[in-house]
């Protein structure tokens, strides 16, 4: 692999890395046909982010003859290469990313002003392809706004706030801080902002809904969107389905997939209230996933809960309930042999999502799984 980014694109690349560092501890780097994919997932696997930099983003883009090259590395080590954004802007003229097969190193070279050459040889690990399955087009609601609007809105929330609630009606959007159920309501402070549909570039609401998701990742993407001056699109459905934050332009695409809080927080009512029909995606070619061995994360396509969807919990589900989130690829691969077990993964419940292979997804479809299995519930039930 050999890619060269020049001028302002180096800063865009750096901003993308910084943005991804808000999601997870590791950067997954994979050159695909559509460009260079930079991905990250958080430890509870409830947030996934992907930047796809198209070949046109680069001055030179050569993918390896051996298509299977992909790697992951601590995001901190990549971040340190692009440590100072101001000095990047001031002095870096060219950035070259090369894969050195002999030394098993990923080499990032920064060509700076005055002939200064910075070469970073980063060690990496081989890994499976990291891919979330999601479909923006199937989402009932879509909002598109200038990043400035979102930045100004989010600014009102304290930095310590973890989750934000977004509600939509036919002509309005409300954003409010999410208050934990068990929080003392007399002491909690509520911040609510109402935005008119006119403030948005695009406003397509088909279902009036209210979702709660993590603010940290939204902030992460906003930093990127604001610096690149691109509008941000928000795709979402009912609570429990992931929200997709998206920034696109002609040479890059960024998608942040975040779990949303399920509607009902009461464990006893949970089973009835939150039956979600989760199924494996049959194919993943709808979103730049040309690798059939992808490790799927946060896999879910949700349908509206209807009366026909009688809650049923596959018996094997309980076996995997307490399976800890694992970053270990081998362990994830080991899970392939188990029956498919799609659990809604929400970090609000502290639950985990076992990875599943594409292979099993294709053979078994329409596997009904409870939406919000979690350790917490297990504890309550037992």
């Amino acid at each position: 692999m050999d890619c060269v980014a020049t001028g302002g694109n180096v800063k865009v690349l750096a901003k993308a890395i910084h943005s991804l560092s808000r999601i997870g501890d590791e950067l997954y780097l994979e050159p695909v046909e559509d460009g260079l994919a930079l991905r990250s997932v958080n430890s509870s696997r409830s947030a996934f982010a992907c930047f796809l930099l198209s070949p046109l983003f680069f001055q030179r883009y050569q993918t390896p003859s051996d298509q299977s090259f992909r790697c992951k590395m601590p995001i901190k080590s990549v971040q340190s290469v692009f440590k100072s954004l101001s000095s990047l802007e001031r002095s870096v003229e060219k950035c070259r990313i090369q894969f050195n097969n002999e030394k098993s190193r990923l080499t990032i070279t920064l060509h700076c002003k005055h002939g200064l050459l910075k070469t970073h040889n980063l060690s990496f690990q081989d890994c499976e392809s990291l891919q979330a399955v999601f479909d923006k087009d199937s989402c009932a609601n879509m909002l598109q706004a200038q990043s400035r609007l979102m930045v100004d809105t989010v600014l009102h929330f304290p930095p310590s706030l973890e989750e934000v609630n977004l509600s939509v009606s036919n002509d309005r959007v409300w954003l409010r801080n999410h208050i934990e159920e068990d929080a003392d309501s007399s002491r909690a402070m509520m911040t609510e902002l109402c935005l008119s549909s006119e403030e948005f570039d695009q406003f397509a609401v088909n279902t009036q809904t209210s979702i709660t998701f993590c603010l940290k990742e939204l902030r992460g993407l906003l930093v990127f969107a604001e610096s690149s001056g691109l509008p941000i699109s928000i795709y979402f459905d009912e609570p429990g389905s992931p929200v997709i934050l998206s920034v696109t332009d002609s040479v890059l695409e960024a998608n942040f997939v975040l779990a949303t809080l399920s509607e009902d927080l009461h464990p006893k009512n949970h089973v009835n209230a939150n039956t979600k029909h989760l199924q494996a995606e049959q194919t993943t070619d709808d979103f730049m996933c040309d690798d059939m061995d992808s490790v799927l994360i946060a896999m879910e396509t949700s349908e509206l809960p209807g009366p026909s969807h009688v809650p049923s919990s596959p018996p094997h589900n309980t076996n995997n309930r307490k399976h800890p989130a694992s970053e270990d690829e081998e362990e994830e691969e080991a899970l392939v042999e188990r029956p498919p077990n799609k659990k809604f993964c929400s970090l609000f419940f502290g639950s985990v999502l076992p990875a599943s292979s594409q292979l099993t997804n294709r053979t078994i479809q329409n596997q009904e799984v409870l939406a919000s299995d979690s350790d917490n519930e297990d504890q309550t039930e037992s």
Partner: protein, 279 residues
Amino acid sequence: MPLSTESQTDNDQYILIASLDNARNLSNILKAISLRDHAIFNATQNGLKVTVEDSKCLQANAFIQTDIFQEYTIKEDAVGFQVNLTVLLDCLNIFGGSTVPGVCTALKMCYNGYGHPLTLFLEEGGVVTVCKINTEEPEEPIDFDFCSTNVTNKVILQSDSLKEAFSELDMTSEVLQITMSPSHPYFRLSTFGNSGNAHYDYPKDSDMMELFQCTKTQTNRYKMSLLKPSTKALGLSCKVSVRTDVRGFLSLQYLVRNDDGQICFVEYYCCPDEEVEEE
């Protein structure tokens, strides 16, 4: 003004008197060498030399020549004493070290001879503070025997280009490796950290390179923990001279311009960490 009369009469007994209109001209340069508590002061007719050492492997010297001071009186050929540098810096900033233009602390530094404290008279806005710092038995500074005739490689760089590199250095690396060579890579700083290695290459024809005199390819490693404090000196300086001698000893000389545009020097000597086979 009882204080001034007292000072007048006392002036006779001091063997060293040094005055500055702006105490920051002294405190800034002392900060550049504040890597350990104990500083050896050595005053001669030429000025003041302050030495700080670390682990018998690193020596930092600050030179403040006579003409930096508004008054500089020395009654002996050489006056030596040792004080706690942290305490001295605290005293010099006793008025808060304001950086507002036009506001500065005036300093009169007096020493009475062996066994006496170092006395500082500090004045800002009509308020005078007198500080007495106990002096310690002066240690003999290590002679690094760094002789310019033994220098094999020398480069002079504008500090800005090195500042960036030093601010980004991978601190997980135990050593900083410096390569100087008449051929590629000319001048290279390398680190070997947890996440991999990094090289910073400065070509000899760079605008930042003011002088390039390398006769022999040399690669030496220096302890990162020892060299990191030199970043303070680098930050203050406008130019830096990097030299290595035949033994691989490193000399870093920083040219520091103070608030009044005068020039002082800070020098670091460092022993190489271990022998590296030349590639």
